[in-house]
């Protein structure tokens, strides 16, 4: 003790101790530098990732935001009873049958009035009709069938402009290229300018994008059928994979004996989580369609296949959540005389619920974006009508994106990006819900 005390002043004056301290200093500096470098690498990695993400979002939103607006042409339509119901029968069935061209006549008449055309100017009429969607007459027809009281009245109707006119108004088809290479000719541009000046041609929110089914005309195409199909599939996945996955993992985690068989099952579950989803698609095609004879393109089959792909994810997440519940809870439960099942269902599972829900929602979000297995079971199809049950043919959001991406028209290009935005919005909402649920139910010990 005294020896050490007497040495201290010596070391202050410089001696072997000083050298030792400075050696520690050198080491410190190097370690600090290493840490700073590591931080810089980490920051750089995150920045690069963010830049890519921004570029991706930027390009998608930049290409897609225009699709949420659509060019419409408002025209006064005279719902002439003598044309629509020549025999006086105004029932929807009568409207839907009979000469289909009578609705084209209605549109032609109102276009003539809107453009103030001479009745004999047929070329002018056809040039004007070029601007209107070819689906206008069927649209008018179903509108009257839905509301026969329109017959005999006069009302302004918003017609869709064709996809090419829409692209032109939005500037994706440019006016400064030679006319022969342009899809919109000079005569059409003159008409567009005139209609725009009169206020008939205007941009409106594109509700059809969310409500319409597939169409070959970009202006009438929407993700409606795909949304419903995806919704049905998510329902099937939720109904099947949540109880199956949770029950399976509770058994494996809390009740199953630890032996070679359960080890094998555990290894298999982890392996299944890593199997490429296309394999599940092939399995679904072989088992659900070819063997069980379920209908092709049905969202039930899609849901079953996606259940298979999400089950491993849910089981792994649930088991991790159950493992995270401290053993003291189980011991206390058993200690006061609860049975094993009571302990698990009254104490362990409620505490593990935030983890289970998070795992399930992330599994669902994953399933929502899954494309490959759906291609195999016919969910990449041209489907116009809404599915009423999960057994009816439907598409899904990602397959709809895939199909639009292959269309040549400009208006489909922007719709592809718009559909991606819709899908991303759903994924974002689901992931936020997972975070909120976790925050709300989180318990700390």
């Amino acid at each position: 003790m005294t020896e050490a005390a007497s040495r201290l002043p010596v070391s202050r004056l410089g001696g072997p101790e000083v050298r030792a301290i400075s050696r520690i200093d050198i080491g410190l500096r190097r370690r600090y530098a290493a840490e700073r470098r590591f931080r810089a690498y980490g920051l750089a990695a995150v920045t690069i990732a963010l830049c890519f993400l921004l570029a991706l979002f930027g390009s998608i939103v930049g290409k897609g935001y225009t699709a949420f607006q659509q060019t419409r042409i408002a025209m006064m339509v005279d719902f002439d009873a003598s044309i629509i119901a020549p025999d006086g029968d105004r029932s929807p069935a009568a409207v839907l049958s009979g000469n289909a061209f009578r609705f084209d006549d209605l549109i032609a008449a109102s276009l003539q009035k809107t453009l103030e055309l001479d009745p004999d100017d047929e070329d002018g009429l056809y040039d004007g009709l070029d601007l209107l969607s070819k689906g206008s007459a069927p649209m008018l027809r179903s509108m009257i069938a839905k509301d026969p009281s329109l017959i005999g009245t006069k009302r302004s109707v918003d017609f869709y402009a064709t996809g090419d006119v829409d692209s032109f108004v939005k500037g994706t088809i440019r006016a400064d290229i030679p006319e022969s290479q342009r899809l919109i000719k000079d005569k059409h541009i003159a008409l567009i300018d005139k209609l725009e000046k009169d206020g008939a041609l205007h941009l409106a929110f594109n509700t059809g994008l969310f409500t319409n089914g597939a169409s070959t005309r970009p202006e009438m195409a929407g993700v409606g059928v795909a949304l419903v199909g995806s919704l049905y599939m998510m329902l099937v996945v939720l109904v099947l994979s949540l109880p199956l996955g949770v029950a399976g993992s509770i058994y494996l985690e809390e009740f199953a004996p630890k032996n070679r068989w359960t080890d094998l099952i555990e290894v298999n579950i982890n392996n299944l989580a890593a199997v490429p989803s296309i394999v599940y698609g092939l399995l679904g095609l072989a088992v659900f369609i070819n063997f069980a004879h379920l209908p092709r393109s049905a969202s039930l089959v899609g849901g079953l296949v996606l259940t298979l792909t999400t089950l491993p994810t849910i089981i792994i997440a649930t088991r991790a959540a159950l493992k995270a519940v401290p053993p003291s809870i189980r011991e206390a439960g058993l200690g006061v005389g609860a049975s094993k099942m009571q302990t698990v269902f009254h104490h362990v599972l409620p505490l593990a619920m935030p983890g289970v829900l998070t795992g399930t929602i992330i599994g669902l979000a994953h399933a929502l974006g899954e494309t490959a297995p759906l291609l195999m079971i016919g969910m990449k199809a041209f489907i116009v009508e809404y599915p009423t049950t999960p057994l009816d043919p439907a598409t899904a959001l990602p397959t709809q994106i895939y199909m639009w991406a292959t269309e040549p028209e400009r208006a489909f290009t922007e719709r592809t990006s718009a559909a991606i935005i819709v899908l991303l919005a759903f994924l974002l909402a689901m992931n936020s819900l997972a975070i909120i649920l976790r925050r709300a139910f989180e318990r700390r010990w």
């Binding site: 199956l244 029950a247 379920l294 209908p295 092709r296 043919p393 292959t406 040549p408």
Partner: protein
């Protein structure tokens, strides 16, 4: 455990309702992605004109995949129509017959033209099939000898072509277009350059010589595009000296980005293809299961609707989308054959 029993009961219940609700209510179509746009146009118009039938479901997937699905058998869970961008092969028809699809009706709907196009700002091209064979053939004739293709630039192929590195984006081997490309461009060019004779002289049998002619160089100058034409367009966007192979319809929609080349002096257009002047074109088909005609509601009406002038005639929306219409007499013959119940 209770949960999993309940869940499996749900699965069984759902499968049971599935089998019960299986009566085919609507037409199901799958096949060639070239025919897909026309099939969807007709399906949409058919649904609009016949509100009492459900709209047909149209899938793409390719000619081969469509015919495979078609030939699985007869019944509610099989497709009714297969779209095809080439005639059905004998072995496919045999597979069909073995699976019980004994009566297949062939419907020819029109033609498809394949165009060669480059970036709009580049020079004009006028090709002969021989130029393409010399540019992308695996083995070509050089000074009377068969050698591995030495041409690196278009100017090596023919004087007058620009000094561009050869970069050709051609349809991949699973594309229906590939066969027409091989037959009407590569093989024709092979024969024109006498390379075919050289292959025969080197001891190859006729069929093997034809195969050797259709072989494409593998050194990266010819790139197979297995996806859609959009991908080919993206390649040309990024490599302005690339030449791509497109469908006529796709080119018509992207005239502001692409410049089309002539083949054997003929510019591709609906007129030149319909007249048979433009050399690179092919017929398009769909195949119908005769056994389904009375069973699936609207199937017969759909086929007849498809063959109407309003759908595939010269002024129809299909033609606006790029289909090359068949002459009127041919269309009438196809309709008459269908109505007479002619099978393959």
């Amino acid at each position: 455990m209770k949960f999993s029993t309940a869940a499996s009961a749900i699965v069984l219940g759902l499968s049971a309702t599935g089998t019960a609700a299986l009566a085919a209510e609507q037409i199901h179509i799958a096949g060639s992605s070239t025919v897909l746009p026309y099939a969807t146009i007709v399906a949409e118009a058919f649904a609009e004109a016949n509100p009492n039938f459900k709209a047909p479901i149209v899938e793409g997937g390719g000619t081969g995949a469509g015919l495979k699905e078609f030939c699985k058998g007869v019944g509610d869970d099989t497709i009714d129509i297969a779209d095809a961008s080439r005639p059905i092969k004998a072995e496919e028809l045999d597979a069909c017959k073995a699976a019980g699809v004994t009566e297949v009706q062939e419907i020819r709907i029109g033609y498809d033209g394949i165009v060669f196009a480059s970036d709009i700002k580049g020079p004009d091209f006028a090709y002969e099939p021989a130029d393409w064979f010399n540019a992308i053939g695996a083995q070509v004739l050089k000074d009377g000898q068969l050698v591995d293709n030495p041409n690196a630039k278009w100017s090596d192929v023919k004087a007058g072509f620009p000094d561009w590195d050869i970069a050709a984006y051609i349809p991949g081997e699973k594309h229906g277009t590939r066969e027409v490309f091989e037959l009407n461009v590569l093989l024709a060019g092979c024969k024109a350059t006498k390379a075919y004779d050289a292959f025969i002289a080197s001891g190859l049998a006729k069929a093997d010589a034809e195969k050797a002619c259709a072989k494409v160089r593998k050194d990266g100058k010819a790139v197979d595009i297995d996806g859609e034409y959009n991908e080919t367009l993206a390649r040309i966007d990024s490599n302005k000296t690339g030449i791509g192979v497109f469908g006529l319809a796709f080119y018509e929609n992207n005239k502001d980005k692409l410049k089309v080349a002539t083949m054997s002096g003929i510019s591709p257009s609906v007129e030149t293809i319909a007249k048979g002047e433009y050399p690179v074109s092919r017929p398009l088909f769909f195949y119908v299961k005769k056994a389904h005609l009375g069973v699936v509601p609207g199937l017969k009406d759909y086929v007849e609707f498809f063959l109407a002038d309003q759908m595939i005639g010269p002024r129809s929306p299909s033609v606006a989308k790029g289909l090359v219409p068949a002459p009127k007499s041919e269309r009438e013959q196809v309709l008459a054959d269908f109505q007479a119940g002619k099978t393959l």
